[in-house]
């Protein structure tokens, strides 16, 4: 739900130019946030360079390639998969992925009988340490409202049609546990290296709104 605000009609444009705002209207977010950053910097409460470092972390270091490595390892190494099932936080940390919004991890494994899908109906809880920042749709009302009542309809919109008889389990992240879906390993990937396997693991497959890619999908 990326959109401009939609309630600017009756607002005094003069105020907005000067960076003033009604309490209940946030009209120009670029100006508003710039003013806030300047204010907090003047007060010595924040360091703009720290903001740069945070943004750099989530743009270049922490993202869904982390999770893809976890899944590829689980597909390749049965002992790791067992560890991931019983203590996901530790198993994931062993690959170097930990920290904010990855403190309490759980891995849920798709099977030929059951498909897992993760949502946070109450806010935007998401396993940042393995998937990075969530996409806009994950945080927006359409997904948060529908995932629990109409997951098949949601999956259809993602182009996923599950075979008949496959059950759906939706995990609503209402507490501090963060869920990583381990999708089914695609057929025709015998002998693939972990790196080759990781290329088949999409962000959506680890949320449960997608499946892992088939080898022919990326050729």
């Amino acid at each position: 739900m990326v959109h401009d605000h939609n309630h600017s009609d009756d607002h005094d444009a003069h105020d907005e130019h000067h960076g003033h705002h009604h309490d209940n209207q946030y009209l120009d977010m670029q100006a508003r946030v710039k003013a806030l950053e300047t204010l907090l910097t003047d007060k010595g409460l924040i360091d703009p360079a720290a903001i740069d470092a945070i943004v750099d972390t989530y743009e270049t270091k922490v993202g869904p390639r982390n999770g893809a490595k976890v899944v590829a390892r689980a597909w390749s190494d049965p002992a790791f998969a067992t560890w991931l099932k019983s203590d996901a936080t530790a198993a994931i940390a062993s690959l170097g992925f930990a920290g904010r919004q990855g403190e309490h991890m759980r891995a849920v494994f798709n099977t030929s009988e059951s498909h897992n899908m993760v949502v946070c109906t109450l806010c935007s809880c998401y396993p940042w340490a393995v998937l990075g920042l969530p996409p806009v749709w994950y945080k927006a009302p359409a997904y948060r409202s529908r995932a629990v009542i109409d997951p098949r309809g949601v999956l259809e919109e993602f182009g996923v049609a599950l075979p008949d008889g496959v059950k759906i389990r939706v995990w609503d992240s209402t507490a501090e546990l963060r869920y990583l879906v381990v999708p089914l390993r695609p057929v025709g990937t015998e002998g693939f290296s972990e790196e080759q396997l990781a290329d088949l693991v999409t962000r959506d497959a680890m949320i449960g709104t997608g499946l892992a890619l088939a080898p022919e999908d990326i050729r």
Partner: protein
């Protein structure tokens, strides 16, 4: 509270609108909004639970019209004012008027890596034994607290089964209001689609929530 954030099962929000190759940020201000929110979080003045409650207390029409980072900025304004770091006048004008409260800690660029890597674990020892065990039949409470809770409306007064005992965690309903961490056992409780949605529910659907012990009653 029965706020606008509690979206599970609501209708009318339309299709999911996933974006192909979505960027992490859709505007410069979103990067700053993320960084400001995380920076202010390290003051140590409020908890994650309090910040969630600040966001869900945004008036419903504003909450639903806002993009997610706008929700964050509205939340951070509330918290900065409530805890005395900035006055309402400063936040609406962007002008530095008075010093305000000094935080315990200001996030500097060289601290970012370690702060993000450390995260904020919220598991805690609980002095009493877990009241429920795997396989127990439970019913979720029917309540409508004015304050923060993580029991979504769609899952209140529903019968489910304890699938996992997840450990002790800070209790958000207290912690969000400065009433202490008061950790409780958290359980993954699974419900049938029929129990949650009744007539017309997808028969192949099960839904789980992670529920604090006081949300549950024995059947």
């Amino acid at each position: 509270m029965n706020g606008p954030h509690d979206l599970g099962g609501q209708m009318g929000f339309g299709p999911i609108a996933a974006e192909r190759n979505e960027p992490y940020f859709h505007a410069e201000w979103e990067k700053r909004a993320l960084g400001i929110t995380l920076s202010c979080g390290t003051f140590g003045a409020w908890t994650l639970d309090e910040s969630r409650h600040a966001r869900e207390s945004i008036p419903p029409a504003d909450y639903l019209a806002a993009s997610y980072y706008e929700v964050w900025i509205r939340g951070i304004d509330t918290l900065l004012e409530r805890h005395g770091f900035a006055s309402r006048e400063e936040l609406s004008s962007g002008q530095h008027i008075a010093q305000g409260v000094r935080p315990k800690r200001v996030l500097k660029a060289d601290m970012v890596e370690s702060v993000l890597a450390k995260g904020g674990a919220c598991d805690r020892p609980v002095q009493t034994a877990a009241r429920f065990a795997v396989g127990d039949q439970v019913r979720t409470k029917n309540f409508h607290p004015l304050g923060h809770t993580r029991l979504p409306r769609y899952a209140r007064a529903k019968r489910g089964v304890v699938e996992a005992v997840q450990g002790g965690f800070v209790f958000p309903d207290d912690n969000a209001h400065g009433n202490g961490e008061n950790p409780q056992w958290v359980y993954t409780v699974v419900f049938t689609g029929d129990e949650i949605w009744g007539e017309g529910a997808d028969p192949s659907l099960t839904i789980s929530i992670d529920a604090w012990e006081s949300y549950l009653e024995r059947m």
